[in-house]
Amino acid sequence: MQITVDMKRCQDHGQCAIAAPDVFRINDEGRLEYEPTADESLRDEVEEAADVCPVQAIALLDG
């Protein structure tokens, strides 16, 4: 599964990092970092991360 974050919209709230800590992380500067691909086994938590993003900046692509 491929993950994209619209970094122009992202406000580094970090709700995704709470929902899916294996994929999203807030670094020491308070900025979002993420893995652009993730294993299928993480689908539920990545979908949840996309759902809870306050600015709806996360998109998932299959494959």
Partner: protein, 399 residues
């Protein structure tokens, strides 16, 4: 000695009840410096610094010590306050947030839109023929309380109980908390009774609704305990009511000053979402978001001592000319995000609900209340902390 003498930063007496966050004093301070000293600590005034500090890892949410600072250290209220997800940090916070977030998802909320529309129309029907209304008691208050009743699956006619008990618990955020404590704890108990009934019912009779989503929420083998559920439900009632009521009143007050935008919203109801964002940018009910420094750290050359209270001024940031240019109110403008829902780990849990219910209400109000104008000055909460109208008499042209 005042800390204001330590450096050249402006001083704002935010503890003075007559202090206004929208006053020229604050605007001048914002031009002078990105921060000001206050009796509590610091106020952050500009967009970029508010945005960064709102999510800064060295700052925690800042209201945890409020009851203790006012002599309330034990009992049901102190326990409940300490249980707030807002007052938790780190993994303890993240666990609760993970379990609670899905119930507040956009998908689940969108199913309630027709109910929100029907409710708004019913309330407007109650005063449309008169060409005037007292907006808070005739719309904002019943709307905010009945939205909560709809979410929880409570009978909507019981909304005055939600409104009354929430208002009583709200006394806890004022400086008279200690003397009001018996009343506050009685109100808290009545809301707990509601919550307990709801939890028991949904455990036995799960259905497609918000409370069932919370009761059945799980992550791996973890789920919310009975105590966490009742604490969370009472917080939701309390946190969702005042804020929505106040924000709707503030929205109307802003539109009174911008009749062209009111007409635009009536003509283009799809701008309801944009209207909510634009109102919350220039006139947010949460005038400041509170943080507390976990340890001493440097930020842009300023040393922020551990324990310092930092108030992030949302309206000041939302109208910062560095980002938004000359003052304007325009539903069609592309804007940077506002901070009316706070931000970071503690970003408002119920923001999809608030955004959805207000974006349905405002276009219906605009359609049915053309020629909107004040019908008296109304009465107002202090213009700091959480603000809004206590009463807001409005007049409009009858159909």
């Amino acid at each position: 000695m005042s800390t204001a003498t330590i450096d050249s930063a402006p001083f704002l007496d935010v503890a003075d009840p007559s202090f206004s966050i929208t006053s020229d004093v604050v605007k001048q301070a914002r031009e002078q410096s990105w921060y000001a000293r206050t009796p509590y600590g610091l106020a952050i005034l500009r967009y970029d610094e508010v945005s960064r500090l709102l999510k800064h890892p060295k700052l925690r949410q800042g209201s945890l010590s409020w009851p203790a600072h006012n002599g309330v250290t034990e009992g049901p209220f102190a326990d409940w306050f300490a249980s707030w997800i807002l007052n938790k940090e780190g993994e303890e916070h993240h666990r609760l947030r993970r379990l609670m977030n899905p119930a507040f998802s956009k998908k689940l909320i969108s199913g309630l839109v027709p109910r929100f529309q029907a409710l708004a129309s019913e309330l407007i029907d109650g005063f449309a023929d008169r060409g005037r209304c007292e907006f808070v008691s005739e719309f904002a208050e019943p709307y905010a309380a009945r939205v909560i009743a709809i979410m929880l699956g409570l009978p909507e006619e019981e909304w005055p109980i939600i409104a009354r008990e929430s208002a009583t618990i709200g006394l806890a955020l004022g400086v008279t908390i200690k003397q009001d404590l018996p009343k506050i704890e009685a109100a808290l108990q009545r809301l707990y009774d509601y919550a307990d009934g709801l939890i028991e019912d949904r455990r036995e009779n799960p259905r497609e609704d918000f409370v069932t989503a919370l009761v059945t929420a799980h992550r791996d083998k973890d789920s919310l305990s009975f105590q966490e559920l009742r604490d969370g439900l009472v917080l939701l009632i309390f946190g969702g009511f005042d804020t929505t009521r106040n924000q709707l009143g503030l929205a109307m007050r802003t539109f009174v000053d911008h009749p062209d935008q009111w007409r635009l919203l009536a003509a283009r109801p799809e701008l309801g979402g944009a209207a909510v964002e634009e109102v919350m940018r220039v006139n947010p009910t949460v005038r400041w978001v509170t943080r507390e420094a976990l340890e001493t750290f440097e930020y842009q050359g300023l040393t922020i001592e551990g324990g310092t209270t930092v108030h992030l001024f949302s309206e000041s940031a939302g109208t910062d000319p560095r980002v938004f240019g000359e003052p304007s109110f325009d539903l069609t403008a592309e804007r940077m995000p506002h901070f009316g829902f706070g931000g970071g780990a503690h970003h408002c849990l119920g923001h999809f609900v608030a955004r959805s219910d207000m974006s349905e209400a405002l276009p219906l109000l605009a359609e049915r209340m053309p020629g909107l104008r004040l019908d008296g000055e109304g009465t107002w909460l202090p213009d700091s902390g959480n603000t809004g109208p206590i009463t807001l008499p409005l007049a409009f042209d009858r159909d």
